[in-house]
C-alpha cells in the first residue's frame, strides 16, 4: 500500500508536468486546428534560459522562472507572427512541415549555444522526503504537483473569468464575429502561442531536475503530452489536465507493477494515442461539436 501511494504521488507529479505540455498543445489546437510539433523544443529552450539565468548569472530561482516564462511567451508569439502566420490557412501538411522546421531549428540552436552534455538543473524544493501516515513522499513531487495545479488553475481563471480569455475563446471559435467586435484575431493567435509556450515552459522547468537538461530532453515528454492531450480530448483544456494526470499515474503504475513493460512506456503512449484516436477521437472529455467558421 505504501509503495502504491508513493508511486501514485510520483505519477501525479510527472502527470502534472505532462498536463502542462499537453495543455500547451491543446491551447494551440483549439485556437487554430494545428499541432505544434515544436512545443516540446520551445519548453526545452526556455528551460535552458532559466538555467543560464540561475547558474551563469546568479538570478534567484523564482525570478529566473518568471523571466524564462516571459522569454518563452514573447519568443513564441513572435514566431507565430513572423513564421507560422502565412501557413495557417494553407494545407495542413504545410503547417506540419513548418512546425517540424521549428523543432529542428530550436533543437539545433540549443545545441549551438549549450551543447549536448546533460546538465543538472536546480530545484527549489528540499530533497528529503516527508513522512505522511507512514508513507515517504518526496517534497519535490509534491512541489511539482502544486506548481502544475497552480499554473493550470491560473489558465482556467484566465479563460473563464477575464475579458482577455473571453476574447481569445471568441477569436478561436468565431473569428469573423470577433473581428466585427473589435478583436484582432491575429493578435489573439499570437497571444495564444505565447500563452501555450509559457505553459509548456513550466513543464520543462519542472521536469528538468529529474530528466537532466539537454537539447533532446523533451523528445519523449512531447509524446506523453500528445498522448495526454488525445486521451483527454485534443480540444479540451480540462481534458488535457485530466489526461496528463491519468497518463502520469498509468505510466508510474506500469513501471512499478508490469516489469516487462517498464522500458516500453513510449510504446504504451503510442498505443494509447492510436487506440483513442481510432475508438473515440474526441477523447474522454472532448465534446463533438460543429465548428462554425
Amino acid at each position: 500500500m505504501t509503495f502504491f501511494l508513493q508511486q501514485l504521488v510520483s505519477g501525479l507529479a510527472a502527470g502534472g508536468a505532462y498536463a502542462s505540455l499537453a495543455l500547451a498543445l491543446v491551447l494551440i489546437y483549439s485556437a487554430m486546428g494545428l499541432v505544434n510539433f515544436a512545443q516540446g523544443e520551445f519548453a526545452m529552450f526556455a528551460t535552458f534560459i532559466a538555467w543560464t539565468l540561475m547558474v551563469n548569472l546568479g538570478v534567484p530561482y523564482p525570478l529566473a522562472f518568471v523571466l524564462a516564462l516571459g522569454f518563452a511567451m514573447l519568443g513564441a508569439a513572435a514566431i507565430e507572427r513572423l513564421i507560422v502566420r502565412p501557413f495557417e490557412r494553407g494545407p495542413q501538411l504545410g503547417v506540419v512541415i513548418v512546425t517540424l522546421a521549428l523543432l529542428s531549428i530550436t533543437n539545433g540552436m540549443a545545441g549551438f549555444i549549450w551543447g549536448y552534455v546533460p546538465r543538472a538543473f536546480p530545484t527549489p524544493f528540499p530533497q528529503n522526503p516527508v513522512v505522511i501516515a507512514g508513507v515517504y513522499i518526496s517534497i519535490q513531487d509534491l512541489g511539482v504537483i502544486g506548481v502544475s495545479l497552480l499554473v493550470l488553475g491560473l489558465i482556467y481563471i484566465l479563460f473563464n473569468r477575464t475579458k482577455l480569455g473571453l476574447a481569445m475563446r471568441t477569436a478561436a471559435l468565431y473569428p469573423d464575429s470577433a473581428r466585427l467586435l473589435g478583436v484582432s484575431v491575429g493578435g489573439m493567435l499570437a497571444v495564444g502561442w505565447g500563452l501555450a509556450s509559457g505553459v509548456g515552459a513550466v513543464s520543462g522547468i519542472l521536469l528538468a531536475p529529474s530528466l537532466f537538461l539537454e537539447p533532446n530532453m523533451m523528445q519523449q515528454v512531447i509524446i506523453y503530452a500528445f498522448a495526454a492531450a488525445v486521451l483527454g480530448g485534443i480540444e479540451s483544456p480540462i481534458g488535457a489536465v485530466v489526461g496528463g494526470l491519468l497518463l502520469g499515474v498509468l505510466l508510474a503504475m506500469v513501471g512499478a507493477y508490469v516489469q516487462p513493460l517498464a522500458d516500453l512506456r513510449l510504446a504504451v503512449a503510442l498505443l494509447l494515442i492510436v487506440v483513442v484516436l481510432v475508438v473515440r477521437p474526441s477523447g474522454l472529455l472532448g465534446q463533438v461539436h460543429v465548428r462554425r467558421v
Binding site: L100, T106, G111
Partner: protein
Amino acid sequence: MAVARARTLPSNGMLGFLAVLAIVAIAAPFLLPSYQTLNLSYALIFAIAILGLNILTGYSGQITLGHGAFLAIGAYASAIAQQKMGINYLLTIPIAGVVCGLLGFAFGFPALRLEGIYLALATFALAVAAPTVLKKPAAITGGVAGIILPPVTSPTEFLTDDQFFYIVCLGIAALCFLLAWNILRGRTGRAFRAIRDGDLAAVAFGVNLASYKTLAFAISAFLAGIAGALYGIATGFVSADAYPFQLSILLLVGAVIGGLGTLEGAVIGGFFSQFLPQLSQQALSSINKQVANAAPSVTQGILLLVVMVVARQGVAGLIRSNVHRLRYPVQSGDDTPAAPEASAQTGPL
C-alpha cells in the same frame, strides 16, 4: 483518354535525358574516390526511402512522420533473415520489403480513421517509440547491442566492394522507380491524387478510398523496407539507435526540398538527405565541435522554411518550371501548347 495516356509516356527528349542520366550514374563510381562511392550508395538508399514517403505523403496526401520506423523494421528483417536463417543478403532485401509492406498494410487500417493532423501525430509517436520497442526482444534483435552483419564483398575482381554495392543499389533503385512510375501513371496514381486533392471528389468518382489508402501505406512501407535493408547492409550493423525519429524528419526534409509529389524530387531529396547533414557539419567544424554537431538540425530546419516560403514544389518544381519556360518561351498567345503538367499541376502543398 488515349491522349491523356500518351501524355504520361516519356517524350523522346525525356528518354534521351534518362539515358544520359543512366550513363552518368553507372560511370560515377569509377570516376569518384572510393569513400564517395559509399556516399552515393547512401543517397540512392535515401532516394528509395523518400520515394516511398512521397507515394504516401506527396501523392496520396497522407502525412507520415514515421517513415524511419519502417526503415528500421526493414533493416531488422534483413539482418535477422541473414543472421538467424542464413539467407543470402541479396535475397533478404525483397523479404524486408514484403515484411514492411505487410506491416504497412496493417498499419494502414487504423490510419484510415486518422485524418490529416491526427495521422501526423500518430506516426510521429510511432517514430519516437519504434527504437525502444525494437530493442526490447533482445534475443531476436540483439537489444541495445544490435546485430552485426558481414561486410559486402564483390563477386568479381573488376569491381571493388563499394563499387559492387553501389551497382546493387543503383539497380534496385532503378527497379523501384520504374515500379513507382508504372503505378503512379495509371489508375492507381490517379486514385492517389484524387484522395490527396479532396476525399469527396474521389468518392464521387468511384474510388474505393479505404483500399487505395491502405495500398498507399503498403507500397510506401514496402519501399521503406527495401531502403532499410540496404541501409543496414551498407552500415554492416543494425541497431535501433541508428533509426531515431530524426531520421523520419530527415526523410521528410529530403522529400520536401526535392519536391513532394514528383519522382525526380525523390532522387534529388535522396542526395539532400545524405549530403546536407555531412556538408553542414563539415562547413562549421572549423568553429568548434559543438557548433558542428548542431549544424545539421539548424540547416535542415532553415532550408525547410526557405523551401516553404520561396518554392513549395521544391527543387523538382523549380526545374520543371524552368524547363517549361525554355520549351515554351512565349506564354501569352492562345496557340501556345498546353503546359505539360508543369504549371497547372496541383500539388500537395
